[in-house]
């Protein structure tokens, strides 16, 4: 039990901090949110990604041969810890570098790797994940978007939904149905798709939170060369699982205000003397620590070259509900005034109000609470699978 860096880790951390200090502003003590709504957000994000790549800090664990640093998982963790203390606009790259490009690296050809990896790494090209559809979310293998072979091409028709970042993406990985006459998991195929193709139409979704960050994506006779297939025809589910596995590594971090922020607000507001509030604050601290320290346990395993245990699967079940609960309490503490979401008038620049509206999405994105609990129950605890009545039926017979 020891929280100190090893000598190598300390050296790497010092290097990372020096680089960050040279290139970025520290997050201000207040709300400290990467402000996606600013017009120049994407430009700033791309510039930062380029700087980071030049400094050798983009994708630290990737091999040097493909532009990574060839570093250790623990170095990546150290980098993430330090970068999160700065005002670093990184979110446009999370899905691409965290999920899509690793899938391309795992299943793509050498040409794919040469063509796509360097540009993604320096932030010139952004990627999105085109899996979910209106009738296939949790049950994503039930998707309908069709790909039909035509000569050396595949022709894609259909609709995706909730595609994060599609509006500014250059490429995407799209999961399609290529064989409807076999059970649903067996007739899927994954492709790389050029988001600038004239047959691809992106329509931003007006979210419950008010923003328009996610999209519907329509495919009308989009031709994809067979060479841009990832994995064999019918093996799309296997490919998708690799993407989703990377998702669980990519998702995480602090999604919004936590115990410290609400404690800060309670002090200003004079509610620290309320016993009921104090009891809740204790619970929030315990949950936040539980989440953070559980990650430390996994990282310890990683740093010893072991496979982390299943404990990491508790992450989003805790954080999403935790965020919703904290924001709800902060708004209720403000009484009638709590309904104000104007950043100039609301306490803490309306961070609690905004996160309250974002929290429901977090409980759904990347696997709903219910699906995550199923996964814990089935894969970690070894309980029987849910009944899956469609498992052995051909998709076309459903």
């Amino acid at each position: 039990m020891n929280f100190d860096d090893t000598e190598d880790e300390a050296k790497f951390r010092a290097e990372a901090v020096a680089f960050l200090e040279k290139n970025l502003e520290k997050k201000d003590a207040g709300a400290g949110r990467a402000d996606r709504s600013r017009d120049d957000f994407l430009t700033r994000a791309k510039a930062w990604q380029k700087t980071k790549a030049a400094g050798g800090f983009a994708q630290i664990t990737w091999p040097k041969a493909i532009g990574g640093r060839g570093g250790t998982p623990i170095q990546q963790v150290i980098w993430n810890q330090e970068e999160s203390k700065f005002d670093a606009p990184t979110s446009p790259f999370a899905i691409g570098l965290g999920m899509c490009v690793p899938t391309v690296i795992a299943f793509g050809s050498d040409e794919h790797k040469q063509r796509f990896v360097p540009k993604a790494l320096v932030g010139d090209e952004i990627w999105c994940q085109l899996f979910s559809e209106p009738a296939a979310g949790s049950d994503v293998a039930g998707l309908k978007t069709k790909a039909v072979k035509d000569g050396d091409d595949w022709v894609i028709n259909g609709q995706k939904v909730w595609t994060t970042g599609a509006q500014f993406s250059d490429y995407g990985i799209v999961l399609t149905r290529t064989d409807p006459d076999v059970p649903k998991h067996k007739g899927l195929t994954m492709f790389i798709v050029n988001m600038k193709d004239p047959g691809v139409e992106v329509r931003p979704i007006h979210q419950a939170s008010g923003g328009r960050e996610f999209n519907e994506v329509y495919f009308t006779d989009v031709r994809i060369p067979d060479s841009d297939r990832l994995g064999d025809p019918g093996q799309g589910w296997k490919v998708a699982l690799v993407t989703l596995m990377n998702e669980r590594l990519a998702v995480g971090g602090s999604p919004g205000p936590d115990w410290k922020e609400i404690m800060g607000y309670a002090r200003d507001a004079g509610t620290m003397s309320d016993g009921a509030f104090r009891a809740k604050l204790a619970d929030w601290y315990v949950a936040a620590q539980g989440y953070k320290l559980t990650k430390f346990r996994s990282q310890t395993a990683l740093s010893k070259g072991e496979t982390p245990g299943p404990e990491n699967s508790i992450g989003k079940v805790i954080t999403a509900n935790h965020l919703q609960d904290i924001c709800n309490s902060a708004v209720e503490m403000q009484d009638h005034y709590g309904i104000i979401s104007d950043r100039d008038k609301a306490p803490a620049e309306a961070i609690f109000q905004e996160s309250l509206m974002w929290a429901p999405g977090l409980r759904i994105a990347g696997g709903t609470d219910e699906i995550l609990k199923n996964i814990i129950a089935e894969r970690v605890l070894g309980l029987p699978q849910d009944v899956r009545v469609d498992k052995d039926k051909a998709f076309s017979e459903m």
Partner: protein, 372 residues
């Protein structure tokens, strides 16, 4: 960073588990449960003494094994898993740690070797009535080397040879050490929710007592510190019990059939068990942090201890009650062990400060820390 136990500590855990699974079976626990005249598992207690576990964290110069607090955490978890019906925690977590921290050199030499060997068994006597022990409410008094007053419940009070008694001392409070075979000490076993751990009412009537350490009126500060350290060890005991509840629930859910399939295939059960798992992991991680703070005497000890205690009390309570629920009617029978964990969960959550008390301590610590 190395946020895990070492290989040696894991080896100790495996050995302890093997030993306890063989020697502290359900039948051993039930022998204490079902017999009013059996206060603890004597054979098990004898073997535990012989292995030196009581002195795991006592320095060799005072007759202990001189291992450390992390090893004690490992042992605590294992004792918690099997509901060991022995006065281990009273003697090792509370009494010995108090002497180690606040005892004079003479007290250390007098008590630690005998606690380590098991010749002396210590206990902590603070409670006098409903509610948290605070100086203002204390009725038991300590003056001119004598203690008078009534303490209840005292965990292991009828088994122990010595008690650490919180008593009013002039305008403040002190901690006093009392030999329980002295004149003026009357002990009566009392009925509690948790009969596998013995409890007594102790009446002191001018019993000879010696001050812990050499500073009068320091009792509340000492107690606070004693409880912080013990809290982390108790949290490991709780995590052990909670883990065992989850295992029992999984086993039963896989085996028990209803409506043509195992009940573990139904989401109401699956999600309940997933919730248990999440709470248990939160508790385990907080307990590990406590272990780190304890073993390094970190400045973070107060908040780490309180967080460990709050998380572990919640996890064990939840796991023990939902384990009964998962077992259905069988879970409500005396024969099935579920209720033993439910009883132990309740004892450990109220002993030496209920969750509300620890939550308040936690927030106070956070305020202190974030004021600077």
């Amino acid at each position: 960073m190395d946020f895990d136990f070492s290989d040696d500590q894991k080896f100790l855990r495996d050995e302890a588990r093997k030993f306890l699974e063989a020697q502290c079976t359900s039948a051993v626990v039930r022998n204490v449960l079902d017999n009013d005249d059996v206060s603890h598992a004597e054979d098990l207690w004898k073997q535990v003494k012989e292995m030196g576990w009581l002195g795991a964290a006592i320095p060799e110069e005072h007759g202990g094994l001189g291992l450390g607090m992390l090893e004690m955490c490992v042992i605590a978890e294992e004792l918690g898993r099997v509901l060991a019906p022995i006065p281990f925690s009273s003697s090792a977590f509370y009494f010995a740690e108090a002497i180690k921290q606040f005892g004079t050199d003479a007290q250390k030499s007098a008590y630690l070797p005998k606690i380590a060997s098991g010749e002396f068994v210590g206990c902590l006597a603070t409670s006098e009535g409903p509610g948290d022990s605070d100086a203002a409410k204390l009725k038991t008094g300590f003056s001119s080397g004598k203690v008078s007053g009534t303490k209840l419940p005292v965990t292991d009070g009828d088994i122990a040879t010595h008690a650490l008694v919180l008593a009013k001392d002039g305008s403040g409070a002190s901690m006093a050490i009392v030999a329980l075979d002295a004149d003026g000490v009357t002990r009566t076993p009392i009925q509690t929710l948790e009969p596998t751990r013995s409890h007594a009412e102790i009446v002191f009537d001018g019993a000879a007592a010696e001050l812990l350490g050499n500073e009068v009126g320091n009792g509340m500060t000492q107690l606070d510190s004693i409880l912080n350290r013990a809290a982390i060890l108790v949290a490991f005991e709780q995590v052990g019990g909670a883990s065992r509840c989850l295992e029992m629930a999984i086993e039963y859910a896989n085996e028990r059939q209803a409506f043509g399939r195992p009940i573990g295939g139904y989401q109401a059960i699956k999600h309940k068990l997933a919730d248990m798992y999440v709470k248990n992991e939160v508790a385990r991680s907080n307990a590990y942090y406590g272990a780190w703070a304890l073993s390094t005497d970190a400045a973070e000890l107060p908040e780490a201890a309180a967080a460990a205690r709050v998380a572990a009390s919640e996890a064990f309570w939840f796991a023990s009650k939902e384990n009964i629920q998962t077992h259905g009617g069988m879970g409500f029978t005396w024969e099935v062990d579920c209720h033993l964990y439910y009883r132990r969960a309740k004892l450990l959550s109220v002993q030496a400060g209920a969750p509300g008390v620890w939550k308040e301590k936690l927030v106070t610590a956070l305020e202190r820390k974030n004021a600077a």
